[in-house]
Amino acid sequence: MTPATVQEALQPIVADALGPECRIDQCRRLTAGASAATWWVGTTQQPLILRLEAGGEQFGTGVGKTVEAKTQQAAGDAGAPVAKVFCILEDHPQLGNGYLMQALEGESLAPKILKAPELEAVRAGLTRQCAEALAKIHSISSAELPFLPLQDAAEQLDSLQRIHHSFGETLPVFTLAFRWLSDNIPPCPQPALVHGDFRLGNFLITEQGLNGILDWELTHLGDPMEDLGWLCVRAWRFNRPDKTVGGFGDRHQLIEAYEQARGVQVNPEHLRYWELFGTLKWGVICQYQAYSHLNNQVRSVERAAIGRRVAETEYDMLQLLNAIAHNINAEGK
């Protein structure tokens, strides 16, 4: 799709949403992701972002752009920092499925966020802000979003195991993690809205802090603790493995801030369950990327290299499983 096609198709939609005097003056494609195409749309009033379904391959079951937009709206209504959605496109003749939203400011590149001197104060407060945003997202009950799929631990383990087996490598550490996670599923009496990919890379950060949560593609209903565990997975700490929450915070701060914001008690072992779960999931994603190269779906030296990051995930799973085997409690005592 060319910028001119997008601009022409989008102009009446923009005029409808923001007023007849609002004119588009620029359309630029930002990313060419496999499952979505993101366009930056400059207008005479304010910059906008257009997300379109690309129909390509992706890991897991993405919810589709219209459901993604409705969920993002619900999260915004609950007070989480997300871009305001102006218009949802369903089966548009030129553009297909997608949505038009406000373009929020902020840095999204994790290494920059973890290093920039001007963001030092932001990093110090980011764990609390993440906990507060998650508490708002998780306050949305399943009943409010009946169009979302329920993906609890059992359902996800089943689908991850199927994907893992399809690759045909016999990896005893994966077997051990699958077995332990299946035998020890924590009870989740109240499934809620889960973002599904809550980590650096999907945050917009300004000098005021967390300004936007992006990428609601993997959202679903499930155990809220999944989002907290995923945020602790070592792959998302980038070059700061010592900072156990996202490369910027500590688990006990996250638990304390989340308990305060949501008014619930968090069992640290429950969080560790989901950190192990997230690490296993990242391991299967690494395999998935490598096999998309090996099976000639997407030939790429980067995807090939990711296959050998499986060793990192085995090490991380064993660190967690070793602590569990030694009966070391999740606070490290």
Binding site: R179, L294, V301, A304, L318
Partner: protein, 115 residues
């Protein structure tokens, strides 16, 4: 825990494939060249360390399974079955042995990773 796919040959094939393409975007090229370079370094480490890694893995697995089988592939298959069936439950002996192998594997795949 055997070394993963892509094998060293498949990794070198991916590097050669990338290098044989014309450069379209110099920023992207800088990134991919760094990836390609890291992949070549990984293969060099694998060539230097693989036989030591495999001997070590064999020793650990034989002890763990009390089995005198010599094929590492077969030992890993038996370990997988013992864990999946529940015959070998989570225990410090199991996780410590696997952790020792995982660290040696990282000496090949990413030597800066282990804490």
């Amino acid at each position: 825990m055997p070394l993963n796919r892509p094998t060293q040959d498949e990794l070198l094939e991916a590097v050669a494939e990338y290098l044989s393409q014309p450069v379209v975007d110099t920023t992207a090229d800088r990134f991919y060249r760094r990836v390609a370079c890291n992949v070549v370094e990984l293969v060099r480490r694998e060539q230097a360390l693989q036989s030591g890694f495999q001997n070590n893995e064999r020793q650990h697995l034989k002890l763990l399974l009390a089995d005198d089988e010599d094929s590492v592939i077969e030992l890993n298959r038996r370990l997988h079955q013992a864990i999946a069936s529940g015959d070998l439950p989570l225990s410090p002996t199991l996780t410590e042995a696997l952790l020792a192998i995982a660290k040696l594997k990282l000496d090949i795949d990413n030597p800066r990773y282990a804490l």
